[in-house]
C-alpha cells in the first residue's frame, strides 16, 4: 500500500512543527503499538532542525558532503535533470526484527539560496513538484512520509503541499499561531485554484495543539477561538478539520529531549510522551481509511 503523506506546516514559527514531525516519526517506527512501521522524514526547512535532531551535527556534515540532502533534488531540477531519491536518503533507524525504520531526506543550509529562486530556473509549476516526483517511486516502500515544512510560503512549502495528502497544523494556544492557520487555508486554496485536480494540493487534515497548559485561562480562551475558526473553515470548504487529541502538554521533558537530540519515545516514560503516543494513535486512526 502507498504511504500516507503528511506535511507539518504552520506559518508561525516555534509552534512545534519539527518537534511533532520528529516525535511522531519516532513513535511510528519504534513504539510497540506501531511495530514494523516504515517512515520517511523529509526535512524541507533550510534551518535543518529535523535533520540536526536526527543526525546530530557530525552526521549532518557527512551527509552534506555526500550530497545526501533535499538540496540535490532541487539542484538537479535547476540543471534540468532528476536525482533518484534513494541517492539522498540517510538511514536513521532500523529494527531488523520488525522491519520498522526511519529514513531521512535531510535539509541543507544551502537550500537558503534556492529559496530565492521560486521557479528553480524553469517553470514554476514544475518547480513545485520536485518532491512529489521524487517520492513517487518509493511510496510503497514506506507506510508514512512526514514532511517538516519551513515557517513560510516558499518553494519548499509549495513542494510539500503538492507532495502531501494532508497538512497537519501544529499550533500553540496564541493569537499569532491562529492567524498562521488562517493564512495556510487562504494560501493553500489560492495555490489549489491553479490545478484542475481537486486533490493536486494537500488538504488541511487537522490541528495538533502543542504546549498546552491545562487550567491556564488564556490557553483555554485561545482554544475556544481555535474551535470557532476550525468550524468556520470547515463550513467554507465543506471538509472537516480534525482537532487531534489529546492536547500535548507543556513539559520540560520535550526541551530536554530536544537538547539531547533524542525523540521522546527513546526517553523515560513521561506524561508528555504518553500525549505524543496518543496523538499518533489519533492521527493514524483518523487517516486510516484514506488511500
Amino acid at each position: 500500500m502507498a504511504a500516507k503523506i503528511w506535511a507539518f506546516l504552520n506559518f508561525k514559527g516555534g509552534v512545534g512543527k519539527t518537534t511533532d514531525t520528529v516525535n511522531i516519526a519516532a513513535i511510528l517506527a519504534k513504539h510497540p503499538d506501531f511495530r514494523g512501521t516504515r517512515v520517511l522524514v523529509i526535512d524541507q526547512d533550510p534551518q535543518c532542525n529535523a535533520t540536526l535532531w536526527f543526525l546530530t551535527r557530525e552526521r549532518y556534515h557527512i551527509a552534506t558532503e555526500r550530497n545526501k540532502s533535499a538540496y540535490h533534488l532541487y539542484e538537479a531540477q535547476m540543471r534540468g535533470s532528476q536525482v533518484p531519491i534513494q541517492d539522498v536518503i540517510t538511514p536513521v533507524f532500523r529494527d531488523p526484527q520488525s522491519g520498522g525504520c526511519i529514513d531521512l531526506v535531510g535539509a541543507s543550509f544551502d537550500m537558503l539560496e534556492q529559496e530565492e529562486d521560486p521557479s528553480l530556473g524553469g517553470e514554476p509549476a514544475k518547480a513545485a513538484t520536485v518532491i512529489q516526483r521524487a517520492i513517487e517511486p518509493v511510496r510503497t516502500a514506506y507506510d508514512y512520509i512526514l514532511i517538516d515544512c519551513p515557517p513560510g510560503y516558499s518553494i519548499f512549502t509549495r513542494n510539500a503541499l503538492r507532495a502531501a495528502q494532508h497538512v497537519i497544523v501544529p499550533y500553540t494556544a496564541d493569537y499569532l499561531a491562529l492567524e498562521g492557520i488562517k493564512w495556510i487555508k487562504q494560501l493553500r486554496d489560492r495555490f489549489a485554484r491553479g490545478y484542475a485536480d481537486p486533490n493536486a494540493v494537500a488538504k488541511i487534515g487537522g490541528v495538533i495543539v502543542n504546549r498546552y497548559r491545562a487550567g491556564f485561562k488564556a490557553s483555554d480562551a485561545a482554544l475556544a477561538e481555535l474551535r470557532v475558526v476550525l468550524d468556520q473553515l470547515a463550513q467554507q470548504s465543506g471538509e472537516r478539520i480534525h482537532l487531534f487529541r489529546p492536547f500535548i502538554r507543556e513539559a520540560t521533558a520535550v526541551t530536554k529531549a530536544n537538547n539531547e537530540q533524542q525523540a521522546l519515545v527513546d526517553c523515560e516514560p513521561t506524561a508528555v510522551r504518553r500525549d505524543f503516543i496518543r496523538v499518533t494513535h489519533d492521527l493514524v486512526n483518523t487517516f486510516r481509511r484514506h488511500v
Binding site: K182, Q232, E239, R240, P269, R274
Partner: protein
C-alpha cells in the same frame, strides 16, 4: 481489597509491593528469553529445547504468583491480562480515561519501565481497586465512541455565538443589554473566555466585553 468505590485505592502499596515481588521474576524471564534467542541463532536444538522448557516453567510460576497475588483464578487472570493489553493497544486514550475514572489518577512510571510494564501495573491497581476480574474484563471491552458531529469543534455553541455577538457591540450597547441577559449564559460565556464573574460589577462586565471583542477580532476570517 478495596471497597470498590471509584477513585479509592484499596491498598496504596499494591503497585510497589507487586513491583518488588515480580521484578526479579521478570528479570529471570528476560534473561532466559535472551539465552533462548542466542541459542536459536546458533542452531543448537538441544540447548534451545532446554531453555524453552525452563522459560515455559518460569512463566507458569510467574503467572501463578501474579494470580495468587490478586486472588484471581489463573485462567481468569490470563484472560483479563490479554484483554487488557489488547484494549490498551487499540484505544490507549479511552483506556486512560476509564482507568482515571476508577483510580482517580494514573500511577506514575517507575524508572525506565516500558509502556507494557506500566500498563500491567495499571491493571494491578485497577484489579485491586475493583476487586473483581469480571469488572476489569468489562472495562477492557471495546466501545465505539460516538463521533462528534462533522466539523463541529465548538463545545458550547450558545455561549460562543453570544460572545461573538457581544464582540461586535460597543461597551455601552453591551452594558445597556446586560439586564436582559440570562445569568446562566453569562456564566458559561465567562467560563469560555477565562473570566470570573462572581458579582455583576462594572469591572467584571467590562472584562467580559473586552474578551468578547477579542474573540470576535481573533476569529474573524
Amino acid at each position: 481489597m478495596s471497597n470498590g468505590k471509584p477513585g479509592h485505592h484499596g491498598s496504596a502499596a499494591a503497585g510497589p509491593e507487586r513491583r518488588a515481588k515480580v521484578a526479579p521474576l521478570a528479570d529471570g524471564l528476560r534473561k532466559l528469553a535472551d539465552t533462548l534467542d542466542a541459542n536459536q541463532a546458533l542452531y543448537d536444538p538441544i540447548a534451545f529445547e532446554r531453555e524453552a522448557t525452563a522459560l515455559v516453567q518460569r512463566f507458569r510460576e510467574f503467572l501463578q504468583i501474579e494470580s495468587q497475588f490478586h486472588r484471581v483464578p489463573e485462567a481468569k487472570f490470563r484472560e483479563c491480562r490479554a484483554a487488557w493489553l489488547r484494549a490498551w493497544q487499540q484505544h490507549p486514550g479511552e483506556m486512560e480515561r476509564r482507568c482515571e475514572e476508577v483510580l482517580g489518577r494514573l500511577p506514575h512510571h517507575v524508572g525506565d519501565e516500558s509502556d507494557l510494564t506500566w500498563r500491567l501495573h495499571v491493571l494491578v491497581e485497577v484489579l485491586d481497586c475493583l476487586g473483581d476480574a469480571g469488572k476489569v474484563l468489562a472495562m477492557a471491552e471495546p466501545t465505539r465512541q460516538p463521533e462528534p458531529p462533522s466539523g463541529i469543534h465548538v463545545e458550547d455553541t450558545g455561549a460562543t455565538d453570544a460572545l461573538l455577538l457581544w464582540g461586535q457591540m460597543t461597551l455601552e450597547e453591551f452594558l445597556l443589554g446586560w439586564g436582559r441577559l440570562d445569568p446562566e449564559l453569562v456564566k458559561r460565556c465567562a467560563h469560555l473566555v477565562g473570566v470570573t464573574v462572581t458579582r455583576p460589577t462594572l469591572a467584571a462586565k467590562r472584562k467580559l466585553h473586552s474578551q468578547a471583542v477579542r474573540m470576535f477580532r481573533n476569529t474573524r476570517m
